[in-house]
């Protein structure tokens, strides 16, 4: 009886799902016959490109990666002079900047440049005060088109984030004319910019890094667009995960110990089971 019921139920589900298959298979294969692929080709899909890293990669890449503090400081400068006009950094506190090897006094001076809104319970008003090292970066009011995201976590909130930010910042340009010829209707909406690394290739952010020397680096590094993009991507990787390098550095001794302990456990196990082996010859 159980088996009869189960076979009926099983066939029920199978018929229902194959019914759906029967309806879907026609359209799917007619798309395939027409385009050679199952998905209707669109300009967005064909123009989209996968993110790539800067030449030589980042210093923090790989299991032995380390921060390049001079680069992080340059990246902070790019953020401050370019990105900060629209993008906030609200999960980062000024005191965190000390990790970029800024001195306590420098951090204090840095914080004081920002006006931090604080709620005063006595007057029920929000008043702004100069920032303290313990404060976090303040919200950034924005009134243009689009929604500039907070950048604290941006490199973790995008797939392959560090490379994505670098590719996005250096990827502005014109759409591939060959693809355009296939999709004559494609055009970048007014007020938007074309960027093949952005999800739907049309991004509201105007190219932020446009000319070499846009930022004058304090350490004299030549500020090419690619250099600025690389530095700010590194900085935003740090803001997303300040513990990244510490994490990898903690991992090695842990792995080493586990390997050692596991080998001991294996030898111990082998030794214990060896006592059973001679019985084979009985």
């Amino acid at each position: 009886m159980t088996r009869i019921i189960s076979i009926v139920v099983g066939i029920g589900f199978t018929v229902a799902v194959l019914w759906a298959f029967a309806f879907g298979v026609g359209p799917a294969f007619s798309t395939f016959a027409k385009h050679g692929q199952f998905v209707e080709p669109t300009a967005e899909l064909e123009l989209h490109k996968v993110a790539h890293g800067p030449e030589g990669g980042f210093s923090f890449d790989g299991p032995f990666g380390k921060w390049d503090y001079a680069q992080l400081q340059r990246g902070y400068q790019v953020y401050k002079e370019v990105c900060a006009a629209c993008h906030s950094l609200q999960y980062v506190a000024f005191r965190n900047l000390e990790e970029l090897t800024y001195s306590e006094a420098e951090v204090k001076a840095e914080a004081a440049q920002y006006q931090i809104p604080k709620y005063d319970p006595a007057t029920s008003e929000v008043v702004t005060q100069p920032g303290l090292p313990t404060d976090q970066f303040p919200p950034v009011p924005y009134f243009g088109t689009g929604h500039p995201p907070d950048l604290s976590l941006i490199t973790k909130a995008r797939h392959d984030g560090s490379n994505y930010v670098y590719s996005l910042l250096t990827g502005y340009g014109e759409p591939d004319p060959e693809v355009l010829a296939k999709f004559p209707d494609f055009e970048v909406p007014a007020g938007m910019s074309f960027n093949p690394y952005f999800a739907n290739v049309n991004i509201a952010m105007a190219p932020p890094l446009t000319t070499d020397g846009q930022v004058t680096y304090a350490d004299g590094t030549e500020a090419t667009v690619s250099q600025m993009a690389k530095d700010v991507s590194a900085f935003l990787t740090w803001t997303a995960e300040p513990t990244l390098v510490k994490r990898k550095q903690t991992g090695w001794p842990v792995l080493g110990f586990l390997l050692f302990a596991t080998i001991l456990a294996y030898l111990s196990k082998k030794q214990i089971w060896a006592s059973l082996k001679p019985r084979k010859k009985d």
Partner: protein, 422 residues
């Protein structure tokens, strides 16, 4: 426990004797995982995963209790407190990454444990109760993991909660009210976040309680083994300690190496980037997917795309729940007398060339975009999934001719000669 030759616990000193007469806890441990529990001597490494699952339950409870010390279940600050844990709390990043990846490893070892059960028919009499309790544990794990994923209150948390509670909305008549009742509102919000946190904290302890029942039920008939032949004499068994404590210790070391690699070098590889964006009820992510361990069931849910008598959405929900509930009936669907897949030629073929590819496909398809050809493939895989458990298994278990079994576990260990003599 149930074998006559099981060694008896003998208190080693006066204090242990005093203890044994008042609270025989050491005796219980001795009989459960000590030298007092005789275990088949031929268990292979697939039998390690039960202990490993228990280990990861403990990891999850410890790291979870710690995270709860720093987390706040309030829609305005939940996301920020997670970042507080990552940035400010001493070793907070380690606790959170261990908890997030610990959930994945818990599911990995439990899936291997379940598939060990499928292949060796561990669910068959007299072990049905162990199996049923195991399925209950798996259901509780799924509920716990789902609610845990909501807590960071990222985009995937929010939209995952929206989609999964929406499944209940597909139930005729009561569905809509049921969904509102589960959420305590019309969309995931503070009420839902708080109750999910409360239940996410509670359920692991319920799981621990069911695990105790699961292990208790195991000790009545004793462990199954790769031959599927029951223990006949003392030479078929070895004491759990030191033989299997040592083997489990080694297995634990190996799994911890993989765990450490994930936690320290790729902690976000199994997560979704969108969950690092704070929940926004006004903006839906391009692709809503659950955590990877739900992919097979999510693929089954999405495979039903056209109405057939019932609405497609209801079919999807029914099929998704049925795909797990069917496991409850396995002991009665598979009536073959032989347990181990090693001696069941037909069963073995359907296992390796049917169920395994089908599950692998469902794991892949659940995470793919809902577009062709993935939809067609998941429809095939879903059809096979139900056919396998509900049609193929009952039929082959009654028609198949098993290969000759060894007389005993000892014979199987000692080689072919002894087996033929028997």
């Amino acid at each position: 426990m149930s074998f006559a030759w099981a060694r008896q616990y003998e208190p080693q000193n006066a204090f242990m004797k005093w203890m044994d007469e008042r609270l025989p806890l050491p005796r219980l441990v001795y009989n459960a995982v000590g030298a007092g529990y005789p275990v088949p001597r031929n268990l292979n490494y697939m039998w390690n995963f039960g202990v490993l699952a228990g280990f990861f339950l403990v990891v999850q409870i410890i790291t979870g209790v710690i995270l709860a010390m720093h987390y706040a279940a309030n829609q305005t600050v939940a996301f920020a407190t997670v970042e507080h844990i990552m940035r400010n709390v001493n070793w907070g990043w380690l606790m959170r990454y261990a908890h997030a990846n610990g959930a994945s490893f818990f599911f990995i070892v439990v899936y291997l444990h379940i598939f060990r059960g499928f292949f060796y028919s561990s669910y068959k009499a007299p072990r049905e109760m162990i199996w049923l309790l195991g399925v209950v544990i798996f259901l509780l794990m799924m509920a716990t993991a789902f609610m845990g994923y909501v807590l960071p209150w990222g985009q995937m948390s929010f939209w995952g909660a929206q989609v999964i509670t929406g499944l209940f909305g597909a139930i005729p008549l009561v569905g809509e009210n049921l969904q509102i009742w589960i959420l305590g509102g019309y969309a995931p919000d503070n009420a839902a976040l708080n109750r999910f946190f409360s239940l996410h904290f509670l359920l692991p302890f319920v799981i621990a309680a069911v695990v105790i029942l699961h292990v208790w039920a195991l000790h009545i008939p004793g462990s199954s083994n790769p031959t599927g032949v029951e223990v006949k004499s003392e030479s078929d068994t070895v004491p759990f300690h030191p033989y299997y404590t040592a083997k489990d210790g080694f297995g634990l070391g190996v799994v911890l190496i993989f765990f450490a690699i994930m936690v320290f070098f790729a902690p976000n590889a199994l997560g979704h980037p969108d969950n690092y964006i704070e929940a926004n009820p006004l903006s839906t992510p391009a692709l809503i997917v659950p955590e990877w361990y739900f992919y097979p069931f999510y693929a089954i849910l999405r495979a039903f795309t056209f109405d057939f008598i019932l609405p497609a959405k209801l079919w999807g929900v029914l099929a998704m729940f049925a795909s797990i509930l069917v496991w409850f009936f396995l002991p009665w669907l598979d009536k073959g007398a032989v347990r181990s897949g090693h001696y069941r030629p037909l069963f073995r073929k359907f296992f390796w060339f049917g169920l395994i590819p089908c599950m692998a496909a469902l794991f892949y398809l659940g995470g793919a975009h809902a577009e062709e050809p993935y939809i067609m493939l998941s429809q095939f895989a879903t059809a096979y999934y139900f056919l396998h458990f509900l049609v193929i298994l009952p039929i082959i278990s009654s028609i198949e001719k098993p290969e000759p079994l060894p007389y005993s576990i000892t014979d199987a260990v000692l080689g072919g000669k002894a087996a033929t003599e028997a």
